[in-house]
């Protein structure tokens, strides 16, 4: 077939010897259409896989049953059944169709923004609290003060509830929370002659000393420390522990960038020296996402890593399935000269202004915040319980995996709520990468980041 096609092409060429200009024009027209892909690529649309599910909008279905759209992110195998069962229960109890959609976190921001811009916002969606300002700026989110200031809002600890506030209003209900601790491989510690039960990992210097011992030990053949450095949003969230604990901030009280303070330079220097000077990390941190280093640790191939509670839950499950055979411990994220911080993230469940079913949306939210449902969600998904009564259950305080994370609540610190936080974080990740690649000194990398961020935020 191709032979015929090309032969036809050649025949046309010789037959139309006098039509050179026309040929070119035709070709340019075709090229123009191809080239337009680059142009058209910027006019919305976004993730094609999402657009199919965007089109219906919320409204009445054919048989007059009311419907409500629920959008969430990162629904894996461990939680899929939870949503399937509970959506079905809600449908049955309220005689409402739940149009449930899940997207990956990579596509989350774009998907929601595309739907808002296209007038097809879901009725209810999960949304990270730090991204609230961006949607509020578009008048896309509905304040839910009526819920949060009433009896319903009393379910939540004050700090958690305040996490959903922006400009004096609650723009969502706290849906999930996570924080971090430091995991260590007890077997590797023991082999290196370190105390596996009460290891000295209180400060960053302690952690470095342990990492050096692991690296120098002939009995240990795994990298000592996982360091995230890939071009990914999570590289920032791993690094900020070092940044904050050295007394550095990301923005000042006016929301302006302050990323190149002395403390910040110290923090980034320490972070990069772990790889460049001390060589205690896995090879090529610039290739490693947070997920990569977590996976290495979960496989028993890494000495230490900063991780969520679900890292422990995953290892426990793998141990029960006989897939891994190593022991691990969890301690608090090490302390720096200016204190100890555990990155705290709150995701909310918000109602969109475009929703024509705000009452049903509120019913759906109330339904999902039943205490038993919240317990099942936290337990299965591995997120900190946001409902106080759930957090007080013995399951969390007695669990080897959960205990340290509950304790880490006192060190919680969230990333700033900025409307352009994604852009801000990208620039910080670039600075981290420049320093890790030894292309720029930490001072120069952060100075350049500060300058670019000032330009972007002015």
């Amino acid at each position: 077939m191709w032979a015929q096609l090309v032969a036809m092409m050649r025949e046309n060429t010789t037959e139309e010897a006098s039509g050179q200009t026309l040929d070119r024009r035709r070709l340019l027209q075709a090229l123009g259409a191809g080239g337009m892909i680059a142009v058209a690529g910027c006019t919305g649309g976004g993730d094609g896989s999402e657009s199919g599910s965007d089109g219906e909008g919320s409204g009445e279905s054919g048989d007059d049953t009311q419907s409500v759209q629920l959008l969430t992110m990162g629904v894996g195998d461990n939680i899929k059944q939870f949503f399937e069962e509970n959506n079905a229960a809600f449908e049955s109890e309220y005689d409402v169709d739940v149009e449930f959609t899940s997207v990956t976190w990579d596509n989350a921001r774009q998907t929601v923004n595309n739907r808002v811009d296209g007038g097809q916002a879901p009725d209810v969606s999960r949304w990270p609290a730090r991204w609230i300002p961006q949607l509020v700026g578009k008048d896309a989110l509905e304040p839910v003060d009526d819920l949060m200031d009433g009896e319903f809002g009393e379910k939540f600890a004050e700090g958690v509830a305040n996490g959903t506030m922006y400009n004096g209003s609650h723009y969502g209900v706290p849906w999930a929370a996570s924080n971090k601790c430091l995991y260590y491989n007890k077997d590797a510690f023991e082999a290196a002659g370190l105390d596996p039960e009460t290891p000295a990992l209180d400060t960053w210097e302690d952690m470095l000393a342990a990492a050096k011992a692991l690296t120098e030990s002939d009995e240990v053949n795994i990298p000592a420390l996982g360091l995230a450095g890939a071009d990914a949003i999570e590289t920032g969230s791993q690094y900020y522990h070092y940044h904050w604990s050295h007394g550095a901030d990301l923005v000042d009280d006016e929301g302006m960038p302050v990323v190149n303070s002395d403390g910040a330079v110290e923090a980034l220097s320490f972070y990069t020296d772990l790889h460049l000077e001390h060589g205690v990390t896995q090879s090529s941190p610039l290739s490693s996402t947070r997920q990569d280093i977590r996976q290495l640790f979960e496989n028993g191939d890494l000495g230490m890593v900063i991780g969520h509670v679900y890292t422990g839950l995953n290892i426990t499950e793998s141990q029960e399935n006989g897939e891994v055979d190593f022991d691990y411990g969890i301690v608090q994220v090490p302390e720096g000269p200016a204190g100890r911080y555990s990155l705290f993230t709150i995701d909310t469940l918000g109602i969109f202004s475009q929703s024509e079913h705000k009452d049903v949306a509120r019913d759906l939210i109330r339904f999902y915040f039943d205490e038993e449902r919240r317990f099942q969600y936290s337990k299965q998904k591995g997120f900190l319980p946001v409902v106080e009564a759930v957090g007080e259950r013995e399951y969390f305080s007695e669990s080897k995996n959960w205990g340290p994370f509950v304790e880490a609540g006192q060190y919680a610190r969230a990333r700033p709520k900025l409307s352009n936080f994604s852009q801000f974080n990208d620039r910080m990740v670039q600075a981290i990468q420049e320093a890790l690649a030894d292309q720029k000194s930490p001072q120069k990398a952060l100075n350049d980041a500060q300058s670019d961020l000032e330009d972007a935020m002015n």
């Binding site: 032969a7 340019l28 910027c42 941190p285 292309q439």
Partner: protein, 312 residues
């Protein structure tokens, strides 16, 4: 009216009459293609015009208000170092990618044209990379090149060539090569099949005559195959250039444009600026520039290669 003007006028009238007659004669055909033309205008024409319009406005991610800024985005782009770095990285990506696909495609096509055992199998097998969704191929290559879990490092470590895994995609100096290899692997089958079709359309007599004249295989390739394939090579490389220029999924899946934006091309940057960071106006301006660059390339390429009156 001068004689020349009168002739021009008469000529214009004549052409108009011819055009009208042509339309009248083919009215049915025009009616039949009208729905497709309307559809094309709606799904291609409108987005293009909207992109041009958007490039003249500032539309921040956290607001629904668009502010007219004229050509300010273009001024900012041409005054920024990022743009020139992106141009270099895009040019490098396209040049090496297209050259690799063309040379490998030609090599494979020439060998597949020969009377080799299992030719049908190889012809099918070589198409497989092209049939796999690009994103999946990209994921496979990312894992092959992964410093801890990848086959490439595992083999090199086993052979004792290296002492610890190399993070190709994490090295700012060579990451782009790690991505371009995947792109060449994906795009080569298309070139090979196009070239093979072209080779099969070259009359065998030419080779026989050349052989009688004592031409060796290299000379046959140089003086018969390449000239006869010229129009096919031109078309294939043009298409490949466009596709490689606008290629997104391979780079995005493998590196997301990193590390330190060293694998970002213009298209990746457009996505980051326009869709990730929500700055649609600036992203649209980059898109317009990318479009004009492609158009310019196509015009220059065609002029150079059709110099001397040769046709495609």
């Amino acid at each position: 009216m001068s004689l020349a003007e009168e002739r021009t006028q008469t000529g214009d009238d004549s052409r108009l009459a011819q055009s009208a007659a042509h339309v009248k004669r083919n009215r049915r055909a025009y009616l039949l293609i009208a729905p497709a033309a309307v559809f094309l205008v709606a799904v291609v024409g409108y987005p293009i015009l909207e992109t041009f319009r958007l490039s003249l406005y500032r539309s921040p991610a956290d607001s629904t208000i668009e502010t007219f800024v004229g050509l300010q985005h273009y001024v900012d782009i041409f005054n920024s170092d990022i743009f020139y770095r992106l141009l270099w990285q895009t040019g490098r990506w396209v040049a090496v990618g297209v050259a690799g696909k063309t040379l490998l495609g030609l090599l494979i096509a020439v060998h597949l044209k020969g009377d080799i055992r299992g030719r049908k199998f190889f012809r099918t097998a070589f198409l497989i990379p092209w049939g796999i969704p690009y994103a999946i191929s990209a994921v496979v290559f990312r894992w092959i090149e992964h410093p801890q879990f990848g086959y490439l490092n595992a083999i090199l470590l086993k052979l004792g060539v290296i002492e610890q895994g190399i993070g190709i995609l994490g090295n700012p100096d060579i990451a782009w090569l790690g991505v371009v290899v995947a792109d060449i692997w994906i795009g080569t089958p298309f070139m090979a099949i196009i070239f093979l079709a072209g080779l099969q359309s070259i009359p065998q007599d030419l080779y026989e005559a050349a052989a009688i004249d004592g031409a060796e295989r290299w000379h046959q390739f140089r003086y018969i195959t390449l000239p006869q394939l010229k129009s096919v090579i031109l078309m294939a490389t043009l298409l490949s250039t466009i596709w490689t220029f606008v290629s997104f999924d391979v780079i995005w899946t493998m590196t997301g444009g990193g590390p330190i934006s060293t694998t970002a091309t213009l298209v990746i940057h457009i996505y980051q600026v326009g869709l990730q960071n929500g700055n649609l106006g600036l992203g649209a301006a980059y898109s317009v520039i990318g479009f004009l660059l492609l158009l310019l390339f196509a015009v220059v390429y065609l002029r150079v290669y059709t110099r001397g009156g040769e046709e495609l």
